[in-house]
Amino acid sequence: MRTYDRGDTLLITEIPTLTSETYKPFKEYAHGSLLPQHKVVEVDLSCARSVDSDGIGALISVHKAVCAQGGQVRLLQPAPLVAELFKILKLDHLFEIIPR
């Protein structure tokens, strides 16, 4: 994983998977990188081969932290199934999803 601090935007990229195996490091990494000035956190999911319910839980955790400082989370280019999961779980209104 890699982060890019762009003023009020934090970009997290190079996420290979977001699953029960990997969600904890992601969560710690994201929370650790979040600064008070960040109003937008962009999570680049273009490389994420798989995302499961634990991974979605980690994204919700980041969303809550960003919301607490008046910001939002943007999901970049998730795989079609991952984008569909947010609709199935009725979470698509929580995140701004930028499709592939």
Binding site: T19, S20, S50, S53, I56, G57, A58, L81, L89
Partner: protein
Amino acid sequence: MPSSVAIFAETYTRQFPCDLRSVAEMCRQVRAFFAQAGLIPIEIDIWELVLAESGNNAVNYATPDGSRLPIRVDVLATGEWAEARVTDHTAGFDFPEKAELPPEDSESGRGLFLIQSLTDEVCYLRGREENCLVLRKRRAASDLPPPPARAANVVEELREATHTLDLMTEELSSCYESLAAIFRFSAELHSASNPESFLQRWMDQLLSITESNWCVLRLPHGDGTELRVAASSDRDWRGEPVRLEHASSRASSVEARAATQHADVWFDTGSPLAPTDPLASLGETGSGFAHPLFVKDVMVGVLTAGRRSRVPFEAGQVGIIQTFGDFLGIQIHSRQMLEEQIRTRINTRDLEIAANIQRALLPERLPSVPGVSLAGFYRSAREIGGDYYDALPTEDGNLLLIVADVMGKGLPAAMFAFMFRSLVRARRDLASRPGEFLAWLNQNLLQELDRAEMFITAQLAYLDYQRDEIRVAGAGHPPFLSVNAAGKVRELRSGGPPLGIVPGAEFPEETHPLDGNRCLMFTDGLFEARNLNGELLGLDAVKCNLSSAGSAGEPCDVIQSRFASLLHDFEQGAPTADDTAFIVMARNDKT
């Protein structure tokens, strides 16, 4: 369930250690398997996800012992369907018919919802040692041709396919038998005239379907603190009742524990039945489980099935016993509700008849007797009782006043009151000797009252105008009250027992001058009225009011209204516990 089975099927079976890393590896292998079986990429992604969710649950919820056992995954792909079975070693859980989403901000709890949303069929079979999650999804490209049969191994593939077909046919057949049995059961239950023999026969059916050696159905008894055997596959075995209190310890009955813990309770050689458990008297009870039958939150019974051997039931057999039990529970509950409904209808009809009899008991109008005015009052409680009053002119030109109260409520009380009234009217020639009259009534009602374990309190007052006196006799009844113009109340207590208790009882009479020109006869409902605070009206209040009525020279109808108002004002809307009847007599020529 697939409507047909393709002859060509690809299978994958693996056991892997109970950890998340192995789940991920299994998912990668299944991806490769499905790709080889010809599933399209989006299908493969979905299967990877649902197997990851299923595998993660199997790891995260494994019991301490179960976490040392491998998780098994069986995957099958036919031309039309893909299926996966994940066998876990968790404590198991009740798989919801429709999983619900957690609150939006929850970071967990979405796995089951995803599994259900992304597959076509989900079934969770619970067992003693293991549970099996069965997932099925129709293939998106079901018109794909079957995998090409390679000439070199076509015979081997055909053999494997035939074996798979046999297994699936066997499973289908088992399911069909169970379903057919349950349908027959349902159809018969509603037409069964003898529930005991019906349940007995179905215990036998359950044995054959599930390869049990014995099974027992217990139902709650009395106030629900005890379970009693309703049916057992062993016709000669009638186990002792089991109490539900203190059912938490392992020494208590498995049936009681299942009922109080709302969960299946298992037994085997590792955790055998307690020696005091009534089931232990069935002989060899190697393994089995007690399944509580709940409908909503109401415990309607416990179904226990067991084997003599140590070999536990397979997951599918456990599922059938649980399903059969749950279905049985619903049917038992429905039948109980139906019986309750019928009882309520009968009771309502019973009360209607009793009310009609009660209305017929009371005189439409009291007789007109020169120089005398009369007023009667009757008020029923919530349940119809057997209070009764009457005034009968006698052949010698005098008057017999009667007040009676049959112990009890409802139709029996009303019927005895009716019998009492008929007998009194039939022998009014005895009116001038009220004590003898009561003795005769006692003699003629004794047998019937005794058989019904009921009794009647009564009071007869003969008003002799020629002699200007009153003759009173009572049978376990409240006192006779009279009052003169000065407001002095006289209380006549005559001391015979209630009718229907003592054979040959005697009923002494009391005779007094009719100087008290107003009389009041009443049942206990008048002075035993209670208000919202539970306070009793009492006899003194009645006497005090009668005194006021006497000194004020109130006519009968005014005295009647006075006591009706007294009851109303005192009770302040409190529910009426008992019937009330009274009759007032006033001498007009003395007022």
